[in-house]
């Protein structure tokens, strides 16, 4: 009896370990808590359950002493799903204003999960920051989807089959798509290679492995270890806040390079590599280039292409706003 029970549990465990975890994670953000129902008594949870407006006034409370701005409902600081207050630095006051705008322009009954993109991203940033502090409750870490090492490893997988590293065959769209890809992707790839080379431990020149449908056909793609190490070093250099934004961008665009581009372009400094200089519109275009060509050829499908197009734009710009520091 006991042995069979043991065997049974062994089988269950072995099946579980043979199915890679990421198959079920593909479509959703890495860190959302969808295993256990989250019942922490926070404003964000209450809103997501009732979708009713339960407050009168949204305000920003500025604390001049520690240079922080708190987002408040009727005088109480709003909490993230994990129970941390939504408080941002003084240097992100524009972000704070936009957060307030987001909450003040909600109307009852029309509140949906997509109504508060900035708040959800900022919540994730704050939660990740808090769970990365030493001595954090392991249960909270599990709720956010593992510590930042898990997230980094998951993100690294996007570099293998990066949207910007996969080139379509010359025969498609009479070669127009390939020409556009060459024009748009190659300079960005070159810039990223130059950028990642700075993070290589042995100071090697980084070369990203490209998947060219004309030469390689249909197969997977994998980056050499030097590249993976450099990318890992880059992610290690980011703060938890920035890592959350990188994650959002990479998951939205399915491209690690796009994530690097967004982060570097929103970091205001004069030493931005000229090869990396781009804008958000261009990032969106790069991530959706193939769809753009398909729409041109076959037409736009209602309730799909138009929604997706605005969706990716709003997500990228959300990430851009959260990444910006005055």
């Amino acid at each position: 009896m006991l042995t069979s029970l043991k065997n049974g549990s062994c089988i269950a465990r072995s099946i579980r370990s043979t199915i890679p975890r990421y198959y079920s994670l593909n479509a959703q953000p890495l860190g959302t808590d969808n295993t256990i129902e989250n019942n922490s008594p926070t404003e964000t949870n209450r809103l997501s359950k009732t979708s009713q407006k339960f407050w009168e006034k949204v305000s920003l409370n500025r604390n001049a002493e520690n240079g922080k701005i708190a987002l408040q409902l009727d005088g109480k600081t709003i909490k993230t799903p994990l129970g941390n207050g939504i408080v941002v630095d003084d240097t992100r006051s524009l972000l704070a204003y936009l957060l307030k705008l987001e909450w003040s322009s909600l109307a009852s009954l029309s509140i949906k999960t997509h109504s508060l993109p900035l708040t959800s991203l900022v919540s994730r940033c704050i939660d990740l920051e808090m769970t990365n502090k030493p001595g954090c409750d392991p249960q909270l870490i599990a709720k956010i989807g593992g510590n930042s090492d898990v997230i980094k490893n998951q993100l690294l997988r996007y570099l293998d089959t990066d949207t910007l590293l996969v080139f379509s065959p010359m025969s498609e769209f009479e070669g127009k798509l390939r020409t556009a890809q060459n024009e748009l992707y190659l300079p960005l790839i070159k810039g990223t290679e130059e950028f990642l080379s700075k993070f290589s431990t042995k100071h090697d020149d980084i070369h990203l492995q490209v998947l060219d449908a004309d030469i390689h056909g249909l197969r997977g793609n994998q980056q050499p270890n030097v590249v993976r190490d450099a990318a890992m070093n880059y992610m290690n250099s980011l703060s938890p806040w920035d890592l959350a934004i990188l994650e959002k961008t990479v998951l939205t665009t399915k491209s690690f390079i796009c994530g690097v581009l967004l982060m570097e372009n929103k970091k205001i400094s004069d030493n931005l590599l000229p090869g990396l200089k781009t804008d958000m519109e261009k990032i969106v275009r790069a991530a959706t280039l193939e769809t753009i060509f398909q729409i041109e050829k076959w037409g736009e499908v209602e309730d799909t292409h138009d929604v997706d197009k605005t969706d990716i734009k709003r997500k990228i710009h959300t990430a851009a706003i959260a990444a910006f520091k005055q």
């Binding site: 006051s93 204003y97 936009l98 003040s104 009954l109 605005t310």
Partner: protein, 155 residues
């Protein structure tokens, strides 16, 4: 040159915020209108002996109010002072210029903010348009479900 660009950016930002806020403003005015009308009518019923000239006037004006089409309700940003103070004081323009940093990124960022507001609004409009049932209350949903099979929900 920079002045013109700043003005262009600020105008665009205000316009985007106004458009973004509009649906919730319309909804809020709608609820306020409803409560005010109910309150005034209740007051009339409670005091049948009083003359109700003033109340009638107020009632009239509330009933005339049409939040969906009244553009004058949407001419201002409710906290433009805060926004102005952030743009003027928090972004340290002078320091940046003295240090020789380029302010292009900040202008660019303003347009990114505008694009965010516009795309978020557009996305919500699209989702609402393709899922018309989303905005109904539970009661309304039940009523309509009953109607499909030819039944009425008791009042």
């Amino acid at each position: 040159m920079d002045r013109a660009r700043a003005l262009h950016g600020y105008k665009g930002l205000i316009r985007a915020i106004l458009k973004y806020e509009r649906p919730s403003k319309v909804a809020n005015w709608g609820t306020l209108r409803k409560t005010m009308i109910t309150k005034l009518e209740y007051f009339k019923k409670q005091n049948p002996k009083m003359s109700h000239e003033d109340t009638d006037k107020q009632l009239e004006s509330w009933k005339k109010l049409d939040p969906v089409n009244d553009r004058s309700l949407n001419l201002y940003v409710s906290d433009s002072k805060q926004l102005r103070s952030i743009l003027q004081n928090d972004i340290k323009w002078d320091e940046k210029i003295v240090q020789g940093q380029s302010v292009d990124e900040i202008f660019e960022h303003t347009f990114d903010v505008i694009k965010f507001l516009d795309n978020q609004r557009e996305y919500q409009e699209l989702v609402d348009r393709y899922n018309p049932g989303n905005k109904l209350t539970q009661d309304e949903k039940i009523k309509r479900t009953a109607n499909i099979v030819g039944l009425d929900v008791p009042a």
